[in-house]
Subunit: 227 residues, 2 copies
């Protein structure tokens, strides 16, 4: 499969095209930096939107929910979805308020999916989702039972088209604005994880090492992406 | 106007209804804690989704963009939108992976809007958006010019229907799961602002005090919302 998404009427970034990215490496790095995506779909001609946990696996997105969920039924019926992830990295304070901005990394994916029906397929997808959310937590003793698997719907959405948009720079006031008597600069914004709190009923007081490693990564500044 | 949104087929929370909130105080507090919303709309029968800066003002949402933007033209033509905000507050690690969850505060708004055409209306809306993003930054010397105002489209969306969903609790493993030999607990997640960096061309080295106060607030844990 190509290393870039084809640019079409659907995924082409029209506003600030210099910030657009169509290479899979950038699109997938942004998807992999987020846990929650927003999924849009059409129901009876009207827009619907749902925030949901998700994980990318190869050229697909995995998500799960109640079998009665309108979104999962829509996907099961072959309906199209548009999925977005947006990470805010900072406030960009230009001298002129007309030039205010935020730094961000965002992705929009278009695709259609299917519900996983096979028990082994569902188990593998949930394993992948769990590993993404809580590394090292999945194990024989706490795996979903056959009854758990029947109670959940798992969807796999093929990433048919996608684009990313990235803004990373400092403010860039035009020359004549630089002497305005107001402040200009940048305020970094970051999502961080705090120290884990062990449940009072848990005999094992030590969080799994892969979870601790993930928490440490999330306490560090995000990797810089070149604009 | 009522202090609760009417529960209809559109905004009713079907999954985990005990987490639903329809009171304006909760819905608006969540909207006011976020900067970026995802807006879904329908174009040629297919779903579209766009992340955007926004601000609530009374019973409306304000957003701005390029006049040629598909979303803003859709709003200008009277089209419906579904707007979502989702804030992730923590990872909830239950003993059983089938019970993993995140704590979150989310809102979905349904509405239709209009483009502000009047210059004074546009200016007031951009002032509100700026104050929300960079408190204390708007001032006479850096206000948008008439030409700036012509170059931007500003939409006001009436919040016709909305609901919130909140999960705040620690893991709550069923009794028979509590002895499984794996860890259980909670990992807090928070969006924080770092120290402001002044642009090298800015003679005024001191960020505005209201901005510093906002940064300080964002470095504190989010207020607890009772589930």
């Amino acid at each position: 499969m190509a290393e870039h998404f084809a640019i079409t009427a659907k995924n082409r970034v029209r506003r600030y095209p210099q910030r657009a990215r169509y290479d899979k490496a950038t699109v997938y790095a942004i998807l992999d930096a987020a846990w929650v995506a927003h999924v849009a779909f059409v129901k009876d001609g009207a827009p619907r939107i749902i925030p949901t946990l998700f994980a990318r696996r190869d050229d697909t997105l995995l998500l799960h929910g109640a079998p009665a969920s309108g979104l999962l039924r829509h996907i099961g019926a072959g309906g199209e979805v548009a999925v977005s992830v947006a990470l805010v990295d900072g406030l960009v304070v230009a001298k002129r308020v007309a030039d205010l901005a935020v730094n961000y990394r965002s992705v929009v994916v278009f695709g259609r999916g299917r519900l996983l029906e096979d028990e082994a397929e569902k188990r593998a997808a949930l394993h992948h989702l769990t590993e993404r959310l809580v590394p090292g937590h999945w194990g024989a003793s706490n795996e979903p039972t056959a009854s758990d698997l029947r109670a959940v719907a798992v969807a796999e959405i093929a990433i048919e088209s996608a684009s990313a948009k990235v803004r990373t720079a400092l403010p860039d006031d035009r020359a004549e604005a630089r002497t305005l008597p107001v402040w200009a600069g940048f305020v970094p914004i970051q999502q961080v994880m705090g120290q884990p709190v062990t449940a009072d009923y848990a005999a094992d007081r030590d969080p799994p090492r892969p979870l601790l490693e993930m928490i440490a990564r999330w306490a560090s500044p995000p990797p810089t992406v070149k604009e």
